[in-house]
Symmetry: C2
Subunit: 624 residues, 2 copies
């Protein structure tokens, strides 16, 4: 038994302790699976496929007959009975402890510290040394707290029913020496023993395709841990429109809400546990998402977003509570939502502009957030204009045969030898690859194009002397990696998806520039945001016509700015005020009613573009 092993395809081998479930063994080895039900075999999320060996499964909750026939099991209720080989589907995975994200967050903390009064979290705390009551001094608990606050010059704090319900016990347990935690708009959150100083918060990025959470120590500003998973609203459709239809016509608003709220809870429960932080100690949260994601998170009917004249219920969200949001942290924790601009430009782009700092500089900047929605902003400290276009989830690893997020095991860079057609891969974590992420796709297509393996329309040439190209039932594909059990490929359909996405983004930028009557030359700086992991090869993104052909030094790749903006707002009142100013200041252009957009889009469905003159450096490269 001691030598029993669990191998994970193309990944690693772990060893179970006696009697422990597959879920537990994987978790103890840093491989997290989603388990909303906490490992009770009920939610049906921790699916893995057993390829070899014997297991005993005690529950099959929510598994279909088809799953069972294919040896899919629930890891939380499955126990290995021999050496086994398993495959973990991407959608079962919870990515926790992403080192790239944690390291990238450091410059944000430094930036905050460098801004005057930059560090001022949503919640504050004040120490109260209360005299215990006696028969003579028998005022109520709440009056005792209020009197102590008045002595320190604090009045008009609001006390919710939830706070009052736990007050008597908290005071007595702490021996009347407590800290009152309250929000910057004077609502009591909780009473903590005075000895207990650290306060935590969540920065949450709700993307259409992925959900990412930072667990932050708000007392000092450090990101303690990061977790991410796919947005399980995806089962209701890939884009926001399909989901709105589902919420309104399908009457599934509450299912959509529950899906994303449960994703957030699925992420935070294991990271709180891993870092030994109780849910009660997480006392604030900030949410960043596009308008539809923000409304769905709060359970607000998105119907009017979709129907002309495309009106959101609210752009500036009041601060509501974690209990109302149903996030499993302190129920009284204030939840700040990044303000939205319009129906299709939301808090995520406001967060992005905020994190880029373009709104504080006189130079004209172009900001692009590459996600399932491509979101674009142009402007400077005087004006800002913005638009959004639908790119589909391909750069987030969805809708692509072997797509995955930019986490350990993802192919993030590709180089192809133009003579042998053999690829050289860069893998996140320098491990065996188990999929390809957004930056890997851009690299791969750029290389396939310039080595002549695909044509301007993205079609694979079948006449080349290489066994890297093959034609399967689903169509032609290029083999990036030959695996033990399965190869990692990029199919022609995958390439088409990417071309459609890059065309939408490029068309958006063109239309928006035309709208303000500016040419590309006027742009001093281009910020590229998105969940691409370590890097995005700007040159290659230009090569495929995704980004405009501007001098390379004008570009900065700034990562997931939706979560970065949420993090900034979690820690800084100044940043929240700036976010609100950005949202107010931005002019929102509705691309869906723009006549020029479809023409621009059609022209951009080539590599790099129908009009090669727009890409002089690519043209130059081509000549060589």
């Amino acid at each position: 038994m001691l030598t029993m092993e669990i191998r994970i395809t193309d990944e690693k081998t772990v060893h179970p302790q006696a009697g422990e479930s597959l879920y537990k063994t994987l978790k103890d080895n840093g491989i997290y699976l989603i388990a909303s039900c906490g490992g009770k075999g009920v939610c049906g999320k921790c699916r893995v496929k057993v390829l070899e060996g014997q297991v005993r499964s005690e529950a099959t909750g929510k598994l279909l007959k088809k799953d069972i026939e294919e040896d899919v099991v629930l890891a939380c209720k499955t126990f290995p009975e021999s050496d086994i080989l398993i495959e973990i589907p991407e959608e079962s995975r919870l990515v926790i402890g992403d080192k790239i994200a944690v390291s990238k967050s450091r410059h944000l903390t430094d930036m905050l510290r460098s801004v005057e009064a930059g560090f001022s979290p949503k919640i504050r705390r004040i120490s109260l040394e209360l005299t215990p009551p006696t028969i003579e001094d028998n005022i109520s608990d709440l009056e005792r707290i209020k009197t102590a606050l008045q002595q320190q010059g604090i009045e008009h704090i609001r006390f919710s029913h939830g706070f009052a319900s736990s007050m008597a016990k908290a005071l007595r347990e702490a021996g009347w020496r407590v800290d009152l935690v309250y929000t910057d708009d004077f609502e009591a959150v909780s009473l903590r023993p005075s000895s207990h100083k650290d306060s935590f918060g969540l920065a949450v990025d709700i993307g259409t395709t992925t959900v990412v959470v930072y667990l932050v120590n708000c007392s000092v500003g450090t990101v303690i841990d990061v977790g991410g998973t796919y947005n399980s609203q995806m089962r209701f459709g890939d884009d926001v429109i399909t989901r709105i239809v589902h919420a309104t016509e399908g009457g599934e608003l509450f299912e959509l809400r529950n899906a994303v709220v449960s994703d957030i809870n699925d992420i935070i429960l294991p990271i709180m546990e891993k870092n030994n932080i109780s849910a009660e100690d997480v006392e604030s949260a900030v949410i960043s998402g596009n308008t539809t994601m923000s409304q769905l998170f709060w359970g607000l009917d998105p119907l009017s977003i979709r129907e002309e004249p495309y009106i959101p219920t609210l752009n500036a969200f009041p601060v509501w509570k974690a209990g109302t949001a149903r996030i499993k942290i302190n129920s009284q924790a204030p939840v700040y939502t990044l303000p939205c601009v319009g129906s299709y430009v939301g808090g995520d782009i406001v967060a992005g502009v905020l994190a880029s700092r373009m709104h504080t500089k006189s130079e004209i900047a172009l900001f692009m957030d590459i996600g399932t929605n491509g979101e674009i902003a142009i402007g400077n400290d005087e004006w800002l204009i913005t638009a959004a276009c639908s790119m589909g989830p391909c750069f987030e690893g969805s809708g692509i045969r072997h797509g995955m997020r930019a986490t350990e095991g993802a192919i993030e860079s590709v180089k192809i030898d133009p003579t042998t057609y053999e690829p050289f891969l860069g893998i996140i974590g320098n491990t065996t690859p188990h999929g390809i992420c957004g930056s890997g796709m851009i690299d791969a297509i750029s290389e396939l194009f310039f080595s002549g393996i695909i044509d301007q329309r993205g079609k694979l040439r079948k006449d080349l002397e290489t066994d890297r190209i093959r034609v399967e039932d689903e169509g032609p594909e290029y083999i990036l990696y030959r695996g033990e059990r399965r190869d990692i490929v990029l199919t022609e359909a995958d390439i088409e998806n990417v071309i459609r996405a890059k065309a939408a983004l490029y068309a958006g930028v063109s239309v928006l520039l035309k709208e303000v009557g500016l040419s590309l030359d006027i742009v001093d700086r281009v910020y590229i945001a998105g969940g691409f992991g370590n890097y995005l090869d700007i040159g290659k993104a230009i090569m495929i016509g995704m980004l405009p052909d501007l001098p390379r030094e004008k570009f900065s790749f700034i990562g997931n700015t939706s979560i970065a903006g949420a993090y900034l707002c979690l820690l800084s009142e100044k940043m929240r005020t700036e976010a609100e100013e950005i949202a107010r200041k931005m002019t929102y252009m509705e691309l869906s009613v723009s006549r020029g957009f479809m023409d621009e889009y059609m022209s951009a469905l080539f590599l790099p573009h129908t009009d090669i003159g727009l890409f002089p450096t690519v043209k130059e490269f081509y000549k060589k």
Copy 2:
């Protein structure tokens, strides 16, 4: 079938429509039974006893084997199949449309109107004529509302999640012509079509034994209807201490909370239905109760009320919402709770002082609220002192063999011929009596005492020539009324209960006067409050030693002042401010730690008192 009849013992005869349940027939004839479940046969509350005739019962939910053997049925699932005779237990009854209460409320409305700025309900409304959105004018719904408010000079309104959730639909359904309803502390409550002007509210008196609710038209101030029932927390004990023990040691806090909240809902659902008012249109509520009742209503652990040094969690309650309270009106409706003074002097006595107006006059007044807790206040516009004593629920009709509340069918006055020992009864509603209420008991005992039927200790004489006195298994009793199926009696045990109650009240007054070093002579006015119906015979209450022997013209009987104070606070910000001043100003004396109280109590366990010298007019009367 047309002639089928349902007779109710000692009450009236009603005729069912074909196929309708007993519950429905009774309701249509103005006899309301409690039915928390809405007539689904589940809650087990609408019990009646079938004495004669055939019925068909479709459900027996929550009935015990014993109940079924005794022909107890659930009225909502029972259908008569012949003429029947039924008995309705007091605890199944919901008293609705109490004419006495409605008529008494009129002078309160007049009083409010006479006070400067007296009429200013908790909620306000403002008309907003919004321009419907277009592609060009596409700000969010909430921004549209905020802009319109700003134009009318109103800023800083808080918008809850509950409000926001229904906003988009409400705006569109009303064609963008809406009234915003908001609280006087600037929290949005609801959006109403502009055509829809009336706004309603609840004044709620949560007594230890009874619960009474006024449904009020807050736009004009009239009491539309009144409903009352027994506080079903009684199944956990008669007094507040037993209930606190149950809540804390028994872990039944939530059951106690649910009991009283469900009583309130049981009352309001039928009265809203009867008056054709939707729950959404009831937009504010005020709660008045003693400290324990107030805390239990809000689900706050009452443990520290009972343990030395007797500390309530809060005396001044923040305004929370109907949704939080779980009262089934508009979930966003603000719920104001009358402020409490200390562990055993609560919002009900603050309401009482407020309704009496003693705090606005220079004359020294003594206020007594006769309920399960006897609550006493002495003072004027400069000072106020208060105390509470436990009287038991006898004056509210509980713990008395044929006790009932002061509603239709209650014996409310008794006169006994001293030669024949025959009684003459006054009945509320001039109908057949089906029980005796508090004022009837005081009358009866006073008359029994002065006609020599009972002695100074309340024992019935068995040697008199009358068949009105008989000795049953449970002890001796006096027959007040000979009924068709049962007699209405006053037992020796009932009389003892009343003597204990009056002794506690009298002792409380004595100790409180001694505490402030005042004699009775200094008292200019005595206000007597309590749920006694039309009247309380002050003279007879003095005769039995319940009230101090002062000139009759000093006394005013002012009815249920707990609900009167709640009503005033529902309609008037000025009254709420006064209530808070009263609560702050009152000195609270804890009788349970007073050495003198027990001595005073023992001396008062006689008719009228051990020291007859304290009751000169009674002594005089005796001589005759």
